[in-house]
């Protein structure tokens, strides 16, 4: 099952770096058929990175989101934001569908709650703890890589920690 994993954020902005840090661990782990993509922000060209993928995972930091993290399946959806200097994962899926004329692959968001996002800050204490919890979850998630298994995992996480959404992520 070919998986593309996106991790985005700015590691110079405290807990905003949770996504890239988690992504770095995924890359280092060396699981087969996994492509990792890091960027400051999600943008329209990331839709092209989904081409050929059978599943996608988006790793993000969140503010006021369920702690330690939430994990849920997402679908293509337009951003209503008046600015598009950055896209939500749902909007990337939508750009994929409309630009390439294909249904996007089953896609999931793993969003780790952060606390502090100021320039020059390091990871906060709570974020460090949640990062470890999220990494433990990822290591159990990756070997069982199928949409059905991940949907079941999403239900379990939602029951345990609560369900987030794209609005609360920002």
């Amino acid at each position: 099952m070919r998986l593309v994993v996106f991790g985005w954020g700015n590691d110079a902005r405290g807990d905003d770096g949770l996504g890239p840090i988690l992504l770095g661990r995924v890359a280092h782990a060396g699981w087969a058929d996994v492509t990792t993509i890091e960027d400051f922000q999600l943008q329209i060209e990331h839709a092209l990175d989904l081409d050929g993928a059978e599943m996608a995972l988006f790793l993000d930091a969140g503010k006021n989101t369920p702690a330690p993290f939430f994990f849920s399946e997402i679908e293509a959806r337009r951003d209503a934001s008046p600015s598009t200097h950055a896209l939500s994962p749902e909007a990337v899926l939508d750009v994929f569908a409309r630009s390439l004329g294909q249904a996007p692959p089953p896609s999931f968001v793993l969003c780790v709650r952060g606390e502090r996002f100021e320039l020059g800050e390091a990871l906060s204490g709570p974020a460090r703890d949640r990062l470890e919890a999220a990494w433990d979850f990822v290591t159990r998630l990756m070997p069982e890589r199928s949409p059905e298994m991940w949907r079941r995992a999403a239900r379990n996480v939602s029951a345990a920690f609560g369900r987030g959404n794209s609005v609360s992520r920002t």
Partner: protein
């Protein structure tokens, strides 16, 4: 400068605030004061400037700065990289760059301009322009464009991707690139990578030309509307080379007034502090630069595509030069100042940058291996200036005997445009809002004027670029009358 900056009796007026909500500090908002008849008395664009930028840089060794500044802004890391490295070339004591190093830096810059302008036009601006200002919100974004012009959306994605690939090939990575270093570049471009880019650039030039044609077509549907929407008569400033062509990487500063008359020309950028003055106002964190000799009232100016296309004497690539002439002709001999004219100018620039990139990819020097300049005596102070996609970008540093940065001053493009953007939204508010019930559609006019300038409010975090808006109507006593939220 208009008289809508400060109302005479603000306590008697209603306040409308257009405010983004994001998880990181450093965003913009618009406030409008209205009387009982909805007449506009005050309009302000407040931007929480890139607070902490200078502090983030000061105290670092100078050789770390080109890497560190890429973390200041996730929208335009390449711009900060190039401006900072130009300054650090001098601090480190390097002489003129080798031809290969300068051409690689320029290629990187042109790739950035292509991807930035493509993103802005295809994804941000074209929905407004293609579907009209009164279209429903859901159609104002790229999906609306995709529905009406499916190939345009695909071209936008692929053009943006091409620009990112240029950055990856030259800088080493799409983000956190290390290819550009004080004194030159640290990696030669391989023939294979050059050929990969050369294989795609003709298509990008073709799509860029088509984008200009589209903007021209849209303009012709309502030339007067395009001319006056968000019109703010401003001085303009940009870098030009010694022949009068725009130079995005290096040049002298040129400024002309709103009628096109010269203010200064070919001024050495290292003297910028004697030329420009940065003022502060108590209602925003963002500074207000102006031309010192003209004073704050008359000296504010505009930068970016609309300034560059009109300030240069010519563009040294054939397709862009032909389009520049059409643009200038649309003004009938006078400079154009409407906010929507930015879109036309921006597409002319995208075409120019694509042509410039093509020329470099055909230049044998681009795969040369002489990458580093000769090194001389280290300096304590230097200024690096480039034309970023959004406008003139200044980086100024001082370094102590321990190689640590002791002083850092940045004037970013959006700061240079601060007063011009304020004047643009005041023009829109006066023309469209004053005397009318405030509706979401009318407030979108304000957003369109801001968007035309393509301000970068981001501080290198993905969430900040998303700007869900809250619009509160508050009565004279501060009570909430109504609230609109979008995003």
């Amino acid at each position: 400068m208009s008289n809508l900056e400060t109302a005479e009796s603000p306590h008697r007026l209603r306040r409308v605030a257009i405010e983004p909500v994001s998880r990181v500090e450093g965003h913009g908002k618009v406030t409008i004061l209205l009387d009982q008849e909805n007449r506009v008395h005050q309009v302000r664009l407040h931007i929480v400037e890139f607070r902490g930028f200078e502090i983030f840089i000061e105290g670092r060794p100078y050789w770390e700065v080109p890497i560190a500044v890429q973390r200041l802004c996730g929208i335009c890391p390449v711009s900060h990289l190039l401006a900072a490295t130009k300054a650090m070339d001098l601090i480190a004591g390097y002489g003129p760059l080798t031809p290969t190093a300068e051409k690689l830096r320029r290629l990187l810059h042109y790739g950035q301009i292509v991807q930035s302008h493509a993103l802005h036009f295809f994804h941000l601006a074209s929905p407004d322009l293609l579907l009209g200002f009164e279209s429903e919100v859901a159609k104002r974004n790229i999906m609306g464009v995709a529905a009406a012009f499916p190939d345009l959306a695909r071209q936008g994605v692929l053009t943006r991707k091409f620009g990112q690939e240029v950055i990856r090939h030259v800088a080493g990575k799409r983000i956190h690139g290390t290819g550009v270093i004080p004194g030159g570049v640290n990696k030669a471009l391989s023939v294979e990578d050059r050929d990969s880019m050369r294989g795609g650039i003709d298509q990008i030039v073709e799509w860029s030309k088509a984008a200009v044609d589209l903007v021209v077509e849209l303009h012709q549907t309502s030339p007067e509307f395009y001319k006056v929407f968000g019109e703010a008569r401003a001085n303009m400033m940009a870098l030009v080379n010694s022949h009068g062509a725009p130079d995005y990487y290096h040049g002298g500063l040129r400024a002309r007034d709103a009628d096109g008359k010269p203010i200064f020309d070919h001024v050495d950028t290292t003297t910028y502090q004697s030329l420009l003055q940065e003022d502060v106002k108590n209602w925003t964190y963002m500074k207000f630069p102006h031309i010192r000799a003209l004073g704050a009232e008359k000296g504010w100016y505009r930068v970016g595509p609309l300034a560059r296309v009109q300030l240069c004497d010519f563009m040294p690539t054939p397709l862009a030069e032909a389009e520049r002439k059409k643009f200038v002709a649309a003004g009938g001999g006078k400079p154009l100042h409407g906010a929507l004219m930015y879109h036309w100018a921006r597409m002319v620039e995208m075409l120019h940058a694509a042509e410039l990139a093509r020329e470099l990819l055909d230049d044998a020097d681009i795969v040369g291996t002489d990458l580093m300049a000769d090194k001389g005596s280290r300096r304590e102070e230097a200024v690096g200036v480039i034309e970023a996609p959004r406008g003139t970008l200044f980086h100024h540093y001082r370094v102590d005997e321990n190689d640590l940065v002791t002083y850092c001053n940045l004037i970013v493009s959006t700061t240079n445009n601060n007063q011009a953007m304020n004047e643009a939204i005041r023009a829109v508010a006066s023309r469209f809002l004053s005397g009318h019930e405030v509706t979401e559609g009318l407030l979108n006019h304000i957003e369109i004027a801001i968007r035309a300038y393509d301000p970068c409010l981001s501080c290198a975090t993905h969430a900040l670029g998303q700007m869900p808006l809250e619009v509160d109507l508050v009565d004279a006593d501060g009570a909430l009358v109504s609230r609109l939220r979008k995003g």
